[in-house]
Symmetry: D2
Subunit: 397 residues, 4 copies
């Protein structure tokens, strides 16, 4: 991650830390204890695991190395809450997280309290830490914000795949993507553009370094694709015509009998979808969401248009209304020129995933505020769709 | 199931019903809410599912057909809590049970209360039911007792496969199998013997009808095999020598890298095992338990002896100390002469499992008292070992 | 295997050996070179593997231990042609046999010639071998006959699953099962019967020892079930009604979309099946064949009758017309009382398969003449149906 | 595929066609009939399938639409030899190709002769075809050349995974990659470069259209990595240190217990590898080959250098000695700006594979002469290594 250039006061850090930590728990507040435990698919982690894992990050990378006399909350939590850091020892396999009834949610909240108290003492104490300390702290907060988004999407998966369709909350306006109603196209002229994160603010290592990219002229739609447009694709037999699909996408459609976006159910001939406030009729004017890369690409092909590259997206972003749905780009997640991962466990953060995943840009309603930047590179495998993902198209040139 | 010949008074039925229902909840009383949710392997069901499923049985087969004005607690619970009865409609796949965070444990306890109240009203009301009613009621109670045993074994699996090894309870003396310390052999002469359940008491359909079996003379040991004896097999390379194993057992050993009974861990060179009161050193004098059929058979082969057939076991049972561990027999689970399954959903109870499973006899410390009979036929696939299973040997003749 | 009590002259042995070896090659004579190579499923071995493996048996268990100065044909053939004998070293995994283009068929025929010549020299030489020698020789010949049957069934699978449906031969009358046209029932009174092989002739170890079994009275049909009868089951929705099926059978039907016996194809609304002379209309009067245990059991259930046990079959066999189709019994393949496997590699022959398989009795048109006895116990997993298997029913008592 | 601008004379086309067709059969000439049948892994097709499939291309896309009175050789060959063209109807699943013993090799050679004769009559006849005809013909020849390379690599896999390690041929000098012995670095200055195929010659659709790419300055090694260099990586524990590997690469190493390049065997402590002339000691000075993308990337990481992008490779190619080994680039296989697939079956050629594969550049000793261009984009999944793949590194900037 980028060095944090200007030192903020420790008090300000503590306040931001406390606010982020509180926000995580706020997201979980509507849950019943049982909801914290389930792991219905390997990509979805139990909420209580998220609560523990984000805490483990601060304990492992901040408190144990820097807080004198800190006592780890429990000797086995490193094993239980390590996610994928090979550097930091053995860990529970991702597929097994949902099998662990213990530690209980209550114990994990106590763990959070224990770590928060130690963090407060450390940050408000008489301190003089090197810049790497502040960088790790910043990374820990950014990391927790990433898990805030996963908490929302994982909770939606857990509840939305329950045959009882329990609502998460009635107040979900802030979690509903809004669409630009004007149908404009933004035109970008050909030229050399700078790509990558600039300035002193935080960014992840994968957003660095700044480099030039040549782009040919292109036009991009200044809104997301709507449910109505997507239903037209469905009604035209989009899921049944191999011509629109990548070969692996076609295998995915056939192998999983995919016929609609995730969370859609055909009830008495009409489409409903699970929303965080329960099963609802699909609104044709709202943007389509929970779409795999394969579906986004097939839709674009059917429409005679195409997805943007991540570079085209970044350059156009200042002129686009965005931030409500992650937008699949037709760029593979690969290193920028000069990319180099940090040494040690922190270096396992991004680089090792640079294969077989596609980049998404823009952020979503589930992203914490101020977390996402135009240079932010999100990435998932092309068949996944439990994130708040949507479609934006460019003219096929 | 066998017809219940003598009509007990309805009050007595109610009292027995209430006592069994209470016992189920007693077994769960040491659990934390999270423990009710997990399903670490397909064979293990979440405790809250057991609580709901046994209740669903009474609602579906007793209350809905017989209690006028009964209102089902929730319209979707039939879908959620049906286990395998194809007759009674769609159902949650067994592999998905652990993904359901709802209904919550609290809701399921309310469901139990609701059904219990309706059962009380029905049984203590002004009633005149046909004998089939009492048979179904009896079956429901026996069914709940079967799930009491599964609750114990499933809870042990959930806690015993957690890296924190949380104890279930400190008071587990009644769950510890006791061994006969005298080393006697019981000799049974050759002859024709009657096999199967006789008399008016309850039995399952698979214990009927009474039929003759010819047995050649045999000798059977009047105790279980001990941990010390089993460790001798292990130290002699028993898990590494294919000669002792059935071909499919050998594949199982290699494919799963099996090196000891379930729940055994080699800690600093010594064997410990997870017991319901936590991780404990293995006691050489206690009977070995949590053994697959493959292991029982391989041990017998190494010892130059053999397992009993279920018929030999039943005939010798009056002379054997038994009931603390299920004993693998070398009999496949198949119908007795004249076996015929009941019509309707109840008929799905036993007959359809009569393939690829081996019979176990005798009951275990986890079996409810008065639930198991000498004619009782338990059955599992040969690789399973999360039940309280042990080994008894016969002389190879 | 049973001791061969009366010593036949060595010349007679040689003649029988030569005749059996020739018969194996006769079965393969209609094949094209490519047909010798394929292994479409794990249960089906490439014909050239059968040719090599049966030869390897004589080389390994007769020539190498007994023929002075014998030189193994090729140092790696032990690895290539060992089937499952763990005692005799590493081996090609069963699933990989079809990947081996070498040794070529020509080389394997040369291998056969080499071993046959050495066998001739050995048997017609100046010899004085112990009885165990003759027993192993006998076993080798019986073993080759078993593979003759597998050659027929595996060739049928290879050709019958080719979209071109190439005929094996036009002259297949001897491979067509004949049905008893009279519809008689044979009645067997209750009593103690002797089961198992008696006398001095050859038998496999699993047919020993002779022991008593008590049978209750039963009636058995003196013919096989016909295609017309089976089609009635199909037309009555037999494959769509779970009530007739064992639970694992129902999973097999659903998981494999089974709708008819193996090799049946619905062509323009009528049923045809692949026969060894090509695709042919199904003859309603011929016995149904290529049936799994699951299907045989479901058919019996639908018919209100049942399968025989292997003991009932053996006792009734003298009064039954049989030998054209293997008959699934409702007996699991388990050891007889006093069963004991031979020491060394030969002992791996039968005993280690005594789990999860069902017994078939009677032999089939694909069995070599004089190979099968009434006490002969064949065994397969319940879902398999590429053997010439059929259905015979008993009255449900 | 690019339009063929200048019409070559039909005779010249015929001669080139005939020469390419003959070359395919020449590659197969050392094979035994059995070698034509096997399909040891899904990626490797049986040689006889390649022979038939390339012929099917000409029959389906040239003869049937254009040759009056042409009779298809066999009505079922479209089903058997269609590879993945969904447009052209049902087809044998790729995994089943090795199960088809028929058509025989002889029949397929007859098929080739039949099609060649019809092609000769068509091309040397009185013709006036549209340019699309010549484009399809060109594509058919390019397609057959691609299968020539696959024939070499698939034959190597079939023979090199046989425990007998049969040599393909003794004369394989032309199939041995040669290395540049001078250790030079080529420096490329930053700037805008044109990428993609230019001019009138043939190219595939994925090489179009020409577009600008901005490259920062870089340095690239003018030789392949040697076996000795790769062995240093192995000896340094390269396969045991997760730090060098992408996360999915690490899973691949662990899951398949990978410890060396494909075809390498440790014999008595020294490394040998299967070459097309049999098992040979590894020559430290020869370039390492049969390397997955994961291995190439891990090696680069260990070395502190990196792989090139496909754009960097293309720009530097005029200054590089290349063409003996396919070089993994760190570019995902994605469409160029303005890419558009052809309509109909031909359009299924390239575009639908543009996901989850990495680009390889440069050609190999197994590539037909004059088949590969500097703009040629080969692509495979990152774990595959049965092609003649090697490593070239760039300086990490």
């Amino acid at each position: 991650m980028e060095a944090v250039k200007e030192k903020t006061s420790a008090t300000a850090y503590w306040q931001r830390y406390a606010s982020i930590r509180q926000q995580t728990e706020l997201i979980c507040s509507p849950l019943r204890t049982e909801d914290y435990v389930a792991q219905p698919i390997v990509d979805v982690s139990p909420p209580k695991w998220h609560l523990g894992h984000t805490t483990w990050f601060f304990e492992t990378f901040i408190l144990i190395p820097h807080a004198t006399n800190y006592h780890a909350f429990h000797p086995d939590y490193n094993y239980v809450f390590n996610s994928y850091y090979e550097t930091v020892g053995a860990r529970v396999l991702r597929t097994d997280r949902g099998n662990l009834s213990r530690p209980t949610t209550e114990e994990i909240y106590a763990y959070r309290k224990h770590v928060n108290a130690a963090m407060e003492a450390l940050l408000l104490g008489d301190i003089d830490f090197p810049s790497s300390f502040w960088e790790t702290l910043e990374l820990g907060m950014q990391h927790e914000q990433q898990h805030q988004e996963l908490l929302v999407t994982d909770i939606k998966y857990i509840l939305g795949n329950n045959p009882l369709f329990p609502p998460y909350s009635d107040a979900i306006e802030h979690l509903q993507p809004v669409i630009n109603t004007t149908d404009e196209w933004v035109n970008i002229p050909e030229g050399i553009y700078e790509i990558g994160h600039q300035g002193n603010g935080f960014c992840f290592d994968n957003e660095l370094g700044v480099h030039n990219v040549f782009l040919h002229a292109y036009s991009v739609m200044n809104r997301y694709i709507t449910n109505a447009e997507y239903m037209a694709f469905m009604e035209d037999g989009g899921y049944a015509d191999f011509n629109h699909w990548l070969a692996e996408g076609w295998d995915w459609v056939k192998g999983n009998n995919v016929q609609a976006p995730m969370y859609w159910f055909n009830v008495d001939g009409g489409w409903q979808h699970y929303e965080l406030n329960g099963l609802q009729p699909v609104d044709g004017n709202a943007p389509v969401k929970h779409i795999s890369f394969f579906e986004a690409d097939a839709f674009a092909s059917w429409k005679g248009q195409r997805l943007l590259t991540e570079f085209e997206w970044e350059v156009a972003s200042t002129q686009l209304k965005h931030g409500d749905l992650w937008e699949w780009t037709n760029s593979a997640y690969l290193p920028y020129p000069g990319f180099s991962k940090a040494p040690g466990a922190i270096g396992e953060y991004n680089g090792k995933f640079m294969i077989n995943q596609m980049v998404l840009r823009g952020g979503s309603v589930a992203s914490p505020s101020h977390h996402v930047r135009p240079t932010y590179r999100n990435f998932f495998h092309p068949h996944l769709r439990w994130q708040f993902t949507g479609i934006r198209l460019a003219e096929k040139n």
